[in-house]
């Protein structure tokens, strides 16, 4: 069944490649080869491309990049297709099942292996060989996130890193000093306690997306306490490690002591809404929140590296990439667009938008300097020292079990130790099945 699918996929790829190349008076293709071969696109190449993304906040920057690209290739049009994050993946998965994927689309680490192993994505080997895609241009962590069995599938787009956002005005109001570099979990807790007691419980001290995203919340504290979620080769989980237990306990205590809104409150009103509306003094967040938080708090917004636990203050570093489908209607134009998306011009356009940090080396300065009142350089340090986002073939499956079992811990209905023991067995069983 599988080999049949693979063969028909290859057939389609080749057919598409041949017709695509024939249309532009083309060069050679590799019939029966494992991917469509890259060749520099002629300026008069004609194509209509669809580019699918999930972040509305990045649309202007993406449009700017598209404009730059279509100036170089006047006969190519690119339409940007923005979906909300959840429905984006439903849509992509459905389109992948019916060979109607967009020409170029965003990929994230949790989904990458699933798509690459099922041969949905175009291997970019020929772009690398043809010099259109060079490893040394990008943050190594992001480059490696989109490799499978030594084949590159994604063009690194940006870097995500975590930090702690704080509301200067709230801290001042309750007589709490602004956090300083080198601060620790104890300092963080003390500041949070001071805010809660100072406000009589009206304002919460510190919170994060602990009810929805581990990599934005407890994964960080787990590593900061010397634990880990997945081992080096991603074959076993680390829920038996004392550091992992400590990292989970850190959040459980914050919630139990009322320093953060409870899980129920966070379900009703997300942590970023609590923070934006001035009801939360400090929030665990990431690079992508720079603009929304700045809009909400203006000059009162501050940012600082994560507080250090017993093993440091490293955070989860991740990044998106641009990919194209293995079955492509416009392979040459899509590769040309991928090449442009991976280049310096596109990186600078992203950095200048102040929305994300480009994965292209040395192009991030405009981002770090994009906001005078904020020291966005904290993200530069975070990227340099971070650990990469844990991902396996079926990340979604074990992560949904993980969240389901940890939520009762965070609401106080379950014990940390016994739940972590249970998670250790459950996740390892799931990983063994992948």
């Amino acid at each position: 069944m599988r080999s049949l699918t693979r063969r028909s996929l290859l057939g389609l790829t080749t057919a598409a490649a041949v017709s695509g190349l024939a249309a532009c008076g083309g060069s050679s293709s590799t019939p029966g080869g494992s991917d469509t071969t890259y060749s520099a696109a002629p300026e008069d190449l004609t194509a209509e491309l669809r580019y699918a993304i999930w972040d509305k906040a990045q649309e202007p920057a993406m449009q700017k990049i598209v404009d730059g690209f279509t100036t170089k290739f006047p006969n190519i049009t690119v339409s940007i297709d923005v979906s909300e994050f959840g429905s984006y993946w439903t849509k992509i998965q459905t389109e992948a099942s019916s060979d109607s994927l967009p020409d170029v689309f965003w990929m994230n680490p949790p989904n990458f292996q699933l798509y690459a192993q099922n041969e949905i994505l175009m291997p970019l080997t020929s772009m690398v060989d043809g010099g259109a895609l060079a490893k040394e241009n990008y943050t190594p962590a992001v480059w490696d996130l989109y490799r499978l069995d030594d084949v590159q599938y994604g063009v690194p787009k940006d870097n995500d890193a975590m930090a702690i956002w704080f509301n200067k005005k709230l801290l001042k109001e309750y007589g709490v000093d602004e956090p300083a570099e080198g601060w620790t979990w104890e300092d963080l807790r003390a500041s949070a306690e001071a805010v809660v007691s100072g406000s009589g419980g009206d304002v919460y001290g510190f919170s994060g997306p602990v009810n929805s995203a581990g990599n934005h919340s407890w994964y960080n504290s787990v590593h900061q306490a010397g634990g880990y979620i997945l081992n080096e080769d991603h074959t076993a989980c680390g829920y038996d490690q004392p550091g992992t237990v400590e990292g989970v306990t850190f959040w459980r205590d914050l919630l139990a002591d009322g320093l953060s809104p409870s899980i129920k409150q966070l379900t009703d009103t997300s942590f970023d809404d609590w923070f934006s509306s001035g009801k939360l003094a400090m929030a665990a967040g990431g690079t992508w929140q720079t603009q929304p938080f700045l809009e909400a708090l203006g000059d009162d917004l501050g940012v600082i590296s994560w507080a250090a636990g017993s093993a440091g203050n490293q955070v989860c570093v991740s990044g998106l990439s641009n990919v194209m489908p293995a079955v492509s209607k416009n392979p040459q134009a899509s590769m040309a667009f991928l090449e442009y998306l991976g280049g310096e011009e596109a990186a600078i356009a992203q950095a200048e938008s102040g929305v994300v940090i480009p994965a292209f080396n040395g192009a991030a300065d405009p981002f770090y300097d994009s906001i005078e009142t904020l020291d966005l350089r904290v993200f530069e340090d975070a990227i340099a020292q971070g650990f990469s986002n844990p991902a396996t073939k079926n990340t979604k499956e074990w992560q949904s079990v993980e969240l389901e079992m940890l939520l009762p811990v965070f609401t106080g209905e379950a014990e940390v130790e016994s739940t972590c023991e249970e998670l250790f067995t459950t996740i390892n069983n799931l990983l063994a099945k992948e």
Binding site: M1, R2, I120, S262, T411
Partner: protein, 317 residues
């Protein structure tokens, strides 16, 4: 109507061509092809968008799906799994509670309908419109507004409760309350449609019956129970069937008001929500298809049961 034969024969020089054409057209008119032709567009749409996907779903329910399509026949494995799945059993209970609460809209709707349709009622169309608006509003928009109303910390619901000294729960994340909150919204949205159908039922009742009842000395309350309700039973029967079917298919309210990471979900989600989660979150489309078939069978059985029971309480003229 075709011309009578006498008229034709009286005409001078009927050409044989014309006669043949007329005969042909009569033959065509009597042909069974015509009804089929007029039904074709509807049948085509039904076939392509309802029947064929239905048949496919039945087939998929006996298969297992790969991440990106590619099915393997697994026999009744999905159905066997369903019988042992505590989530499915629990979802029946949730759906039953939801349906019962939504059905409260029927008695309320009946009272409202008979009040609105009372002779001499002013602003009748205004009331009808007001009650009908929820039905024509996008469910997603409705769900978002109610989500804000039920917000535990900043919602209007808890603010109102606080005025009478009750500190309200976190409606959308505390188990029994989440289901109640969603059901209340379901009831509110079903009200408008039911009210329109029931109003039509009330209007069909002959006024003389009320006059006769009044002469016999029946109070308005007595009139309601002895005239209005019995004569509305056909409408009530129809409304009940529609309401049960729609309540069983409830998905969007739960999806938007609770989201997919909610701790109250196990005690709130209905059958169709589990169908969605299996198909599009866990990507287990074969199992999801089996759940879809189960929902179809259950709704079918419930509707059949109602048709059986109607003999005992529905009065036709």
């Amino acid at each position: 109507m075709s011309a009578p034969p006498t008229a034709r024969s009286s005409r001078s020089a009927p050409s044989t061509d014309a006669g043949q054409a007329r005969r042909r057209s009569r033959r065509l008119r009597g042909s069974p092809l015509w009804p089929a032709l007029f039904l074709a567009p509807t049948l085509l749409i039904l076939g392509v968008f309802h029947l064929w996907p239905g048949v496919q779903t039945l087939w998929y329910s006996f298969t297992e799906w790969g991440a990106f399509g590619g099915t393997t026949f697994t026999g009744i494995a999905n159905y066997a799994r369903m019988l042992k799945d505590p989530e499915i059993i629990r979802s029946f209970l949730n759906t039953a509670v939801f349906t019962l609460i939504v059905m409260i809209s029927i008695p309320i709707g009946t009272v409202l309908a008979s009040m609105i349709e009372r002779p001499g009622m002013r602003f009748r169309s205004l009331y009808r419109t007001l009650y009908f608006i929820p039905f024509v509003t996008m469910p997603a928009a409705v769900a978002i507004v109610w989500k804000i109303i039920f917000n535990g910390d900043f919602g209007v619901a808890n603010w109102l409760l606080s005025l009478i000294g009750i500190s309200g729960p976190y409606w959308l994340s505390t188990p029994p309350f989440a289901l109640i909150a969603v059901s209340i919204v379901g009831m509110w949205s079903a009200m408008g449609f039911n009210l329109i159908l029931l109003s039509a039922g009330v209007r069909e009742i002959p006024r003389e019956l009320y006059e006769a009842a009044e002469i016999d000395g029946a109070s308005p309350l007595r009139q309601f129970f002895s005239v209005t309700v019995p004569l509305m039973t056909p409408s009530l029967f129809f409304v009940t069937i529609i309401t049960v079917i729609q309540a069983f298919q409830q998905f969007d309210l739960i999806f938007i008001m609770l989201g997919t990471n909610n701790i109250a979900l196990p005690e709130t989600q209905g059958l169709v929500f589990i169908f969605y989660a299996q198909a599009f979150i866990n990507n287990d489309k074969g199992y999801a298809a089996a759940i879809g078939i189960l929902a179809l069978v259950v709704i079918g059985l419930l509707t059949m049961l109602q048709f059986r029971l109607q003999k005992r309480w529905v009065h036709y003229d």
